[in-house]
């Protein structure tokens, strides 16, 4: 597809993710997707802006909240829906579900449902890139909650100590399930990251997809050149409940005003003109992917015990 400018391109990509998530919400009551879904709605711009400057050979590791990054990094939509449906044609052959999307062919190297557990993987991949002289940039994506885990500290220290070509990207949506930052963290994430000697960038508006892209592309360029680690924190907002297709702003664990404030700045809501323009083609692609998933076979019985060791 051709776009008049970078804004439109990034907008398109973010909208595509949003519409995929909305289709999942639509489908969910049918029980065809029997998998806990951690939707990225509200956080699309982070993934799109971050991945824009990455090559397919650059590797990315993320968490269970990976739909946006899977798509932004170039994962196939058909294989994603098939995976959510538990079909043999899914990106994990039906063994992965929503929480473990991966697309090694485009550098999405895995996503894990254990918080913070892929951060060291990214560091290790960066170690391999450095030792094997691969010109890759490696990206670790994680939430604000992940920074509380011990493995996070160990990962940052090692990445900084060995000067590895990695971008550590914290998607700070201010929540871990229903807990606010204040209930969990005595530190500011970027300040703490600085203490390892990492250069840090902080972006207060995760909806500004062009800004995210610019900042990130600067950093990726820098890492590609200097082979040194960088840290980026981007504030963003998850619109839906932690896991599942619903809204839960009524539940009282977070302020409805804050949520509204984020929505009031959201280009995917504000720019209905562009939405109207791109929506049809995206919906077509989604229809096709869903149909692919519907049509696809279940995994063979033999799959149950294959690929274990």
């Amino acid at each position: 597809m051709k776009f008049p400018g970078i804004y439109e391109e990034l907008f398109y990509k973010a909208l595509r993710i949003r519409l995929v998530e909305e289709r999942i919400i639509e489908l969910y009551p049918s029980d065809k997707i029997q998998s806990p879904v951690h939707l990225s709605i509200g956080q699309e711009a982070v993934a799109v802006g971050a991945c824009q400057s990455l090559k397919q050979t650059d590797l990315l590791f993320c968490s269970y909240r990976s739909h946006a990054f899977y798509l932004a990094k170039g994962g196939h939509l058909r294989e994603m829906f098939a995976e959510l449906y538990g079909k043999a044609t899914g990106c994990g052959h039906g063994k992965a579900g929503s929480m473990h999307l991966a697309a090694p062919e485009v550098g999405l190297m895995g996503s894990s449902a254990v918080v913070a557990s892929t951060i060291p993987h990214a560091v290790g991949a960066a170690l391999a890139a450095e030792r094997l002289k691969k010109p890759q940039v490696i990206v670790a994506v994680f939430g604000d909650g992940a920074t509380e885990e011990g493995a996070y500290h160990e990962s940052l220290n090692f990445a900084a100590l060995h000067k590895l070509p990695i971008v550590l990207l914290c998607e700070n949506n201010g929540l871990a399930v229903h807990s606010k930052l204040e209930a969990r963290q005595a530190y500011r994430i970027t300040d703490q990251a600085k203490s390892y000697g990492l250069p840090v960038a902080y972006l207060a508006d995760g909806h500004d997809v062009v800004k995210v892209h610019e900042v990130f592309s600067g950093i990726v360029g820098e890492v590609r050149r200097s082979r040194c680690p960088h840290f980026v924190e981007i504030r963003t907002c998850r619109y839906k409940e932690h896991v599942g297709p619903d809204e839960d702003s009524h539940a009282g664990y977070r302020s409805v005003e804050e949520l509204q404030a984020w929505k009031s700045k959201d280009p995917l809501i504000l720019n209905q003109e562009l939405v109207a323009q791109y929506r049809p083609v995206i919906l077509q692609e989604i229809d096709d992917a869903v149909e692919f998933a519907e049509r696809s076979p279940w995994p063979e019985r033999s799959e149950l015990l294959s690929d274990v060791v």
């Binding site: 473990h100 254990v114 918080v115 909650g145 509380e148 011990g150 664990y253």
Partner: protein, 369 residues
């Protein structure tokens, strides 16, 4: 008493109090806080509007944020903090919404909590309870479905319980919290939270420690040793086999995995000559293995047929429903295995039940995770 109680899950019409697993947990938690000001409960989400699947709901409001509080994501650190708190006079109850995450705290549990008393010559005690929940169904997948009883029970110094009923919870938890002086790991099953159990009145009367195994059905044809939700599966299979095949299963709820009642098992197998073990985890190096050891070390000659074991398939848990359905033994498999074991032939001709295991429960489950 145990025999009656055991029928609750299958026959909740009996005229005594009916309590869900969740309610029993909630009562145990609330009573603990009410009885002893030194009790604290912490874990991710204990104070939120879901309240650890309902088991701690409203307790932060009732007892205050100083006693029931959320924590950072820091399993190893928080377990160490629990140990230190216990050493200085609190009784900590730590919760994990999935037992899979407890692997992050293995060092504190195995190297510290399990050793603190012995290693210092008995000069310290670390009374504390770690609750963790086994996940299953709705695509929980490889990292949200594991049950690690054998990892803990291998280690001297730890007490591991797997309540298979509301009764067990209401007998064991107050005892653990109020009277036991060491670290206890309670492994709960997410899919039992909504199930109703008939409560037996004598629960409070029990003298001696409830931290042991319990016979939940008497029979002379086969001994079934089971854990957690597999006790309920076994009870269903047993009811069916009694009805359609005249087969009488004896069922032992292992309950306290670390300290099973060896003589109960050995006596039963000595009588039935047949043993089937059904566990929520993998067979190798698990409960299935340990029960075989108990019998082998005591009287293998009692076994009139090879032991049958049922557990998760030897693989990580897949998410696709079609695979997951085969990953766990279902009621048909279990019933067939028992019938084959008892009759000595797989041409036993005994009709098998229709549903796949406790399929209604498993299908109804759609979170919260």
């Amino acid at each position: 008493m145990a025999l009656i109680q055991a029928r609750a899950a299958t026959d909740p019409t009996l005229e005594t109090e009916v309590v869900t697993y969740r309610e029993a947990l909630f009562r145990a938690m609330r009573d603990a806080l009410a009885r002893d000001p030194r009790v604290i409960i912490f874990g991710q989400g204990v104070d939120d509007h879901k309240g650890t699947f309902g088991s701690t709901l409203g307790l932060a409001q009732e007892f205050g944020a100083a006693r029931v509080f959320d924590t950072p994501l820091a399993e190893e650190g928080m377990t160490g903090i629990a140990i230190g708190a216990a050493l200085n006079g609190l009784y900590p109850i730590q919760t994990h919404i999935r037992s899979d995450f407890v692997l992050l705290a293995m060092n504190q549990i195995v190297n510290l909590a399990a050793k603190y008393k012995y290693m210092f010559g008995g000069r310290f005690e670390v009374p504390m309870l770690i609750r963790m929940v086994i996940g299953r169904s709705w695509g929980q997948g490889a990292q949200h479905s594991q049950s690690f009883q054998s990892l803990f029970a291998h280690v001297p110094g730890l007490t591991v319980i797997m309540p298979a009923s509301a009764q067990s919870i209401l007998e064991c938890y107050p005892y653990v919290i109020g009277r036991h002086r060491g670290p206890v790991l309670a492994i709960e099953h997410r899919l039992m939270y909504d199930l109703k159990f008939r409560m037996d009145e004598v629960a409070e009367k029990a003298n001696g420690s409830p931290l042991t195994s319990r016979k939940v059905r008497a029979g002379n044809d086969v001994t079934i040793v089971a854990t957690s939700i597999m006790v309920l599966e076994a009870q269903r299979a047993a009811e069916h086999l009694a009805r359609v095949g005249g087969i009488q299963c004896e069922i032992i709820d292992l309950n306290c995995v670390s300290h099973p009642d060896r003589s109960l098992i050995v006596e039963s197998v000595g009588r039935t000559g047949k043993l089937l073990v059904a566990d929520t985890s993998w067979q190798a190096y698990g409960v299935c293995a340990e029960i075989c050891r108990i019998v082998c070390e005591h009287s293998p000659s009692a076994l009139k047929a090879p032991v049958v074991t049922l557990g998760m398939q030897p693989a990580p848990c897949p998410t696709a429903k079609s695979l997951e359905d085969r990953y766990y033994p279902n009621l048909r498999d279990l019933t067939d295995a028992v019938a084959t074991l008892v009759t000595g032939t797989d041409h036993h001709g005994i009709p098998l039940p229709d549903e796949h295991s406790m399929a209604d429960v498993y299908k109804r489950f759609k979170g919260p995770f």
